[in-house]
């Protein structure tokens, strides 16, 4: 690649390669039969996906039917004992299953709803703003989007700190009467947010919504820009209110965008791990488990119960696939995968 290319980088279609090599026959085929080429190109990627995603998926299911503990993961492993549905009956009989399932589902439902709502509103706002203002806001929300999940969790842990946190300071600023009426108390000094499961999830919801609404906003904005502005104008001339315009024009046109955003948000929020791990302070607060954190804890804290952990992971995966199946079908239908 020493010689410079004849094509300008990112150049237009006018700069087609013009170098003629008349001494060569046209349409020279390579060393491989043309029909094999796509398969050869796919091979490395397919191997990676098979080895790192599909085979572990199979192994996870297989492990969930076995007792896999210390003896099976030592250098000279003993064969794992087959348990049949044993791990699963144990999962469903456990109190922790219902706690984690409730935490997982409630968190995902609330967070997805809030993220989509906030993201859509900010997307609509970006669409209405002037050019300078909209760039300014995009740069701002980009900062929230770019912050790594571990840093996000740590920052919000700090903002919600019992003694030196900004949130408790701000809540103390509220007039006492108002604070009591709204939140049930006036004095928030030293309020520990990260001790009980309920408030841990409250902080988690705020942190995750903060980090994920920018993506929704920017995607909605991109969708809005693809709609011809005549449509909005026509609706406005006909006297439609902003809400009616959204419900009757914007939403129907952006429905494919919204369904993809909904699935992506569901996937991200259903399996949230990093932020929860940091906010809950590791694996000690069992009331705050969700399914991912519970599976992780069973499999990796002493004594390791990997088969049991795998069974929890299978349950999580099945729930996720069921929820997203409908939408995968929709994407397959609307996208050009054919």
């Amino acid at each position: 690649m020493a010689q410079t290319s004849t094509i300008a980088r990112g150049g237009g279609s006018s700069s087609a390669p013009a170098r003629r090599r008349s001494h060569r026959p046209p349409r020279r085929s390579g060393a491989f039969p043309p029909r094999a080429i796509p398969y050869l190109l796919l091979l490395p990627g397919l191997l990676v996906i098979a080895a790192l995603l599909l085979y572990p998926l199979y192994q996870m299911v297989d492990m969930s039917f076995h007792r896999v503990g210390l003896r099976q993961i030592r250098p000279n492993p003993q064969p794992a004992e087959f348990l049949g549905m044993g791990n699963y009956t144990q999962v469903f009989a456990s109190d922790l299953f219902w706690i984690s399932l409730r935490n997982t589902v409630v968190f995902a439902a609330v967070t997805v709803a809030l993220t989509l709502l906030a993201g859509t509103l900010v997307g609509l706002l970006l669409h209405r703003l002037g050019k300078k203002m909209s760039t300014f806001l995009i740069v701002g929300i980009m900062a929230a989007w770019a912050t790594p999940p571990t840093a996000t969790a740590i920052i919000w842990k700090w903002l919600f700190d019992a003694d030196a946190g900004v949130v408790n300071w701000a809540l103390n600023l509220l007039p006492d009467g108002l604070a009591t009426a709204l939140l049930g108390r006036a004095d928030w000094s030293g309020e520990p947010w990260l001790n009980s499961a309920t408030t841990i999830y409250l902080v988690l919801i705020v942190a995750v919504v903060w980090a994920s609404f920018p993506f929704i906003a920017v995607s909605v904005l991109a969708g809005l820009k693809s709609i011809p502005s005549e449509l909005f104008e026509a609706a406005r001339v006909d006297g439609a209110s902003p809400f009616t315009i959204f419900r009757r024009v914007t939403f129907p046109l952006l429905k494919p965008v919204f369904s993809v955003l909904l699935v992506l948000s569901l996937i991200w929020d259903f399996k949230v791990f990093t932020q929860l791990y940091v906010l809950a302070g590791g694996t000690t607060n069992r009331e705050a488990f969700n399914l991912s954190l519970w599976a992780y804890t069973e499999a990796f804290s002493a004594p390791p119960k990997m088969g049991f952990g795998a069974a929890i992971a299978v349950v999580l995966t099945v729930i996720m696939l069921l929820i997203t199946a409908v939408y995968v079908r929709q994407i397959v239908r609307t996208e050009d995968v054919r």
């Binding site: 996906i49 920052i155 903002l159």
Partner: protein, 283 residues
Amino acid sequence: MNPRTAKRLRRHGLNGTAVVVFLFAVFPVYWMVATAFKPNDEIFTTRFIPFPLAPTFDHVSRVLTKGVAGHSIWQYLLNSAIVALGTVLIGSLFALLAATAVARFRFRFRTSFLILLLIVQMVPAEALLIPLFLMVRRLGMYDQLLGLIVINVGFTLPFAIWMLRTFVAAVPKELEEAAAIDGATRFVTFWKVLFPLVAPGLVATSIFSFITAWNEFVFALTLISDQGRYTMPVALQFFTGQRSTDWGGIMAASTLMTIPVIAFFMLVQRRMVSGLVAGAVKG
């Protein structure tokens, strides 16, 4: 109220809302940086101190020299950079090949492959952690950064292919056909015609993979136990002691981890957005 005043009022309302949203988005990041430069007596107080009154580099220099968990933050930044760059180098190559196959050729199983890409993205990485942990141990890659690179390639690849195929498809086929008529071999066509035109898309995809690998937490937590090989996200956990947290130190380290990512985001802002949306939404 005449229509012009109404219009101006509406504009002020919109701009005001934009400023509020901006502050909500930026304040936590700002607070991280501000805390990193505050002396301890300004950090551990119930008062609200909007910016460092006596700015100090103590926390930054402490995490860079003394560090945490026995190593300087430089070591963890370096480990993270190795993992992220390794992931990008291997991942982009594989993604480019596969994306070219999907966008340029019609073949049997093409649709199946695309659907497979979608479905594997639905499988939670956290669920595959247990079998992958055992696999990595069996292959002797436990405690190795290489193990993390391989796993990050696996988890970034499906989305990278999905995103990149739209960039490949956007390059007019006629260019390659013209090159072929002019007698260029398939490889020359790929390297001299397609590659330069797809390069911007490849950069966007690479940055996406870089950020994913740079931020990755759960595998780094599980597959590395040697403290000298921790990546940044894992190292951050060690500022929290039994009794207290070194908030100045953890904010300084978080700032150092976040800066490269925000810089990357700003750098490819527009392309990143169009790429993500095109890849995720329009197809």
